[in-house]
């Protein structure tokens, strides 16, 4: 890899491994974002969208009955209460403000669970921009309510039939579409993944989760949590909450990947336990691949975690030992979803349920503080949950 590491690298991970046609559009995006993030007007517009459209700040909820059951003090950061029902909207309002600033004529996005697609469609409708969302046909079948929501919000949903018919293939198709018309099109990428500047930009837009949560728990408890837990698909909700705590050396950061139905290739999406470094969709990071460098199929009960690569900043946080990564099985995630419903009256997304499942394995002393990012709500998963 490159020796003179400039921006866009997280230690050895990250970079910009894309076809030539996309290099200049990425340079243009990088420059536009660098100027926007320093501009007080852009910052004020983003703040206003977050407060009045997204519904921020989201509350921090003390999970009393769950805490009693686990012998811990569990706090939930309620991203499920944002408009459209998941943290994804924090990023899409930011990127769509940037699309308007760059005078782009339309936006495109990839989606897995459909939450990013819905959040992009909503923010695009509000900005008056046409929106096209690429989605694998397998995901369209298992997340049908979100397909209907995207269409209600005026987006065109393009079914992707190639490869594994999930998020990986939807992302390839979105990159192809962007490379055909980058002059007019803004690509709203949904996770802390892809070529530079996306991993940093998406983290910045999601960092509002961590900034709020840190202040909220200090106010409520007068101290920082012992551990912060979040599920990791591409890794945007987790990097969003982790980023505010990275400098707090005493706070453990734990990401939870999809353990699926077993450790054999194709049965999970646990990149750190089953993968190795490689390049996919423009970034060098941990990847599920075979001995020939072909990307492996993945499985997770939650469409949002069903992706073969992890955000490059997570790969670096793990390399330097600042964060650790566990995984939770389909079965344990389902159990955790039902448990939160019954004990706390909250229906979590199957993605977030992986973080909740980890609580049963957390090695904390009795009564210690643990903060969980409840990244989304589970209405979209009722079909799977009630099956």
């Amino acid at each position: 890899m490159r020796k003179d590491r400039g921006s866009g690298w997280f230690g050895p991970f990250g970079g910009r491994f894309v076809p030539e046609t996309l290099i200049e559009p990425l340079n243009e995006l990088e420059a536009a974002y660098a100027s926007a993030r320093r501009d007080p007007k852009f910052k004020a517009a983003l703040r206003s969208e977050l407060d009045t459209f997204v519904g921020r700040p989201t509350p921090l909820t003390f999970a009393g009955r769950l805490s009693a059951a686990l012998g811990l003090r569990v706090w939930l950061k309620r991203e499920d209460l944002t408009h459209t029902g998941a943290h994804k909207i924090n990023n899409t309002v930011g990127q769509i403000l940037l699309a308007r600033r760059m005078k782009k004529k339309r936006v495109i996005a990839e989606t897995g669970a459909g939450q990013h697609g819905v959040a992009t469609a909503a923010a695009a409708a509000r900005a008056g921009l046409p929106c096209v969302v690429y989605m694998g046909t397998d995901d369209m079948a298992r997340q049908a309510p979100n397909v209907a929501r995207m269409k209600m919000l005026g987006a065109t949903v393009v079914p992707v039939e190639s490869g594994s018919k999930t998020l990986k293939d939807a992302t390839s198709e979105a990159l192809r579409a962007w490379s055909s018309d980058s002059r007019n099109t803004f690509y709203v990428l949904g996770s802390a993944l892809g070529p530079h500047p996306y991993p940093s930009m998406v983290r910045d837009f999601q960092s509002v989760i961590g900034v709020e949560a840190r202040a909220q728990i200090l106010k409520a408890e007068g101290r920082l949590p012992k551990e912060v837990v979040a599920c990791v698909g591409g890794g945007s909700n987790s990097i969003g909450i982790f980023s505010a705590f990275i400098k707090d050396r005493g706070v453990r950061l734990t990401g939870v990947e999809a353990g699926g139905t077993g450790s054999a290739p194709g049965r999970h999406a646990a990149r750190f336990s089953g993968g190795s470094p490689g390049t996919l969709h423009g970034t060098y990071t941990y990847l599920l691949q075979d001995a020939r460098g072909q990307v492996l199929p993945t499985h997770s009960i939650s469409a949002g975690l069903d992706y073969p690569a992890v955000g490059p900043e997570h790969a670096e946080l793990r390399r330097i030992g600042r964060a650790k990564y566990a995984n939770a099985s389909d079965k344990d995630a389902l159990k955790a979803a039902h448990e939160l419903c019954r004990l706390e009256g909250i229906l979590p997304a199957l993605e977030s349920s992986h973080a909740l499942a980890y609580l049963h394995k957390a090695r904390l002393k009795k009564g210690e503080l643990i903060l969980v990012n409840l990244s989304g709500r589970g209405d979209k998963d009722l079909g799977t949950l009630c099956a």
Partner: protein
């Protein structure tokens, strides 16, 4: 000593036609049929052969080459076997330059050094890595060069003059100009202002220039022949090979070669 890309393309131009650069996916639809097609293209007058290495996630490719890659992968094709494909061509007397057209990840997995050694042993001429931009290619290029392999760099309609200068200065030995935005595939007509754009790229670099993406018909090849050292035809040949077999490949190649006279 085999011909370099520059020598092969310039020699052909001296004889009054632009270089014909066919592209095939190794192992599509079977290893045997792709070998037959590659050999007959060489015999028909190809000047450089591009051998596509299938990848599970080909973001620069359109539907025709995506499908070809999936067929080849399903039959067990890999980077290692694609290098073996080149060795088989050499063993059968194919002497024109052969370039492996691949994505980065299979090379990283094999290890760049091991990859370069294997390519040298198979007598490949060079490598084109679709998703390795010039900024990041220095180290790879050094390893390839050590083993006597050329690196083909890409330029596109969105490449700025600043980056064209960088690409001209980089050690890559030839330039593949992507004639239009988007992905590989058969298209009608040519990109707007392509002639002016190619003249401009010519002024920026002395490296031999191949042009491709969307070239399927004789009329397109004829128009591009005036402004480039080589014209790459991919999807149209891949489709001919899959749907019509060797006869269809031979007929299309003949038509295209005729159109490249200048």
């Amino acid at each position: 000593m085999r011909l370099t890309l520059a020598k092969a393309l310039r020699a052909r131009r001296a004889f009054g036609r632009a270089g014909f650069v066919p592209f095939l996916v190794a192992g599509d639809p079977t290893l045997a049929q792709s070998l037959v097609a590659a050999k007959l293209l060489a015999a028909a007058g190809a000047d450089v052969l591009e051998v596509g290495v299938p990848f599970s996630d080909p973001v620069a490719d359109g539907p025709v080459i995506q499908a070809a890659g999936q067929r080849a992968l399903a039959k067990g094709m890999s980077l290692k076997k694609a290098i073996g494909f080149v060795a088989a061509l050499r063993a059968d007397g194919v002497t024109i330059p052969v370039v492996l057209f691949t994505y980065l990840n299979p090379i990283l997995r094999m290890g760049t050094e091991a990859f370069a050694r294997a390519c040298k042993k198979a007598e490949a001429t060079g490598v084109l890595i679709v998703d390795l931009p010039a900024e990041d290619s220095t180290e790879t290029e050094g390893i390839l060069k050590k083993h006597g392999l050329e690196l083909v760099l890409l330029a596109s309609p969105t490449t700025t003059d600043e980056r064209l200068k960088l690409i001209a200065k980089a050690n890559g030995t030839a330039i593949y100009y992507v004639s239009r935005e988007g992905v590989t595939g058969v298209r009608k007509g040519l990109a707007l202002n392509i002639a002016d754009r190619l003249k401009h790229v010519r002024r920026m670099t002395k490296k031999p220039l191949m042009v491709g993406f969307g070239v399927a018909e004789a009329s397109q090849a004829r128009a591009l022949a005036l402004h480039a050292d080589g014209v790459v035809v991919g999807s149209a040949l891949v489709r001919a090979n899959y749907e019509g077999g060797p006869g269809a490949v031979r007929r299309l190649a003949k038509k295209l070669i005729g159109a490249l006279e200048i």
